[in-house]
Symmetry: C2
């Protein structure tokens, strides 16, 4: 924008809002106007929520989750099955599995997936920590809950190789028809996998 | 969400982000994770930008624009043509006209448009202020830069009636083909208006 319309402070707020994923320059302006209109109801609470988050949020030194306590709520939950370790690429994936109540076990957040094209190598991910956790006496299974993408599967293979020395079963997520999904809209790879991995009715 | 995944502070941040226009629950989680990852680069600057905005931003008592000074930058700009008054529904419209450098005159922000269905009547808009500004000796033209919607045009008619007593020319935006627009995609009303209001080449 060549010309500041409403003072540098508002421009700065718009620029920072535009950096959020999902907001572009236009929607950032709308968001800024909304915040200014809803000053007491939204802007003030959001400011203080951000302030609190800035002060309190930490990365869990055990699993890489983010939380306001360290180790995180998941790692310190006594009702979790500690014989299983669920490996995820990102905190967002951990949250997705928790929302689904998919499994009641601790996690290990890699912080990404191997991606030679983007220059992400094993040293950029929390793989050493994973290997040492997988060697713990109580761990019997490592579930690789990684994306079914090339990078996700490359990472899964790499980790599987490293885990040969550990006395653990390495598993990965099933491929198949998404619940509610229509066969007609699915790709051939998914349909073939769903047939191959069919289960007894 | 039935279960808080990552502590009440993070949930609260996500809930507040989800209230921004353009962000839903899912993108608010992505935004929160992004903020936490980009703690120093984005989260801390955004927090302080919001804090500054909270402290400094005011509604201009003359025109209804928002700014960090009152009267606002536009109202105090000595290079504006003070014989013209541009009436807009919202601050977003004012910003849009300013970005376009469409006109170099002061504005009057109504704060919405008349909308009987939504219970918005004349008393909810800054119409009294407009009428008294339009009666000022130096004002010769009031441009109604309102949306070409039913509510926008209803508001324009209502204001035009009230301005009969003022010695001003009341104008409205031209209808026509948007710059870069293809005739084939335009509705009949726009095409008819573009023909009716054709200009000499």
């Amino acid at each position: 924008m060549a010309k500041a319309i409403a003072g540098p402070e508002i421009e700065r707020l718009i620029q920072l809002l535009a950096r959020l994923p999902g907001l572009g320059p236009r929607s950032a302006r709308r968001a800024a106007l909304y915040l200014i209109k809803k000053r007491e109801q939204v802007m003030a609470p959001l400011t203080s929520a951000l302030q609190i988050a800035l002060e309190k949020i930490e990365v869990c030194k055990t699993c890489g989750n983010i939380d306001t306590q360290n180790p995180c709520t998941v790692c310190t939950d006594p009702r979790r099955d500690m014989s299983v370790l669920v490996v995820v690429a990102d905190v967002a994936d951990l949250w997705a599995l928790e929302r689904a109540h998919a499994i009641n076990a601790p996690y290990h957040v890699l912080g990404g997936t191997l991606s030679p094209l983007d220059g992400v190598g094993p040293q950029d991910l929390a793989i050493d920590g994973l290997i040492s956790r997988a060697h713990a006496a109580n761990v019997t299974e490592v579930i690789l809950a990684l994306n079914a993408t090339v990078d996700g599967q490359t990472t899964a293979h790499y980790i599987t190789d490293l885990l040969h020395s550990a006395d653990v079963k390495v598993t990965r997520l099933a491929h198949g028809v998404p619940v509610g999904g229509e066969l007609d809209y699915l790709d051939e790879g998914t349909l073939s996998a769903a047939i191959r991995q069919r289960t007894l009715f």
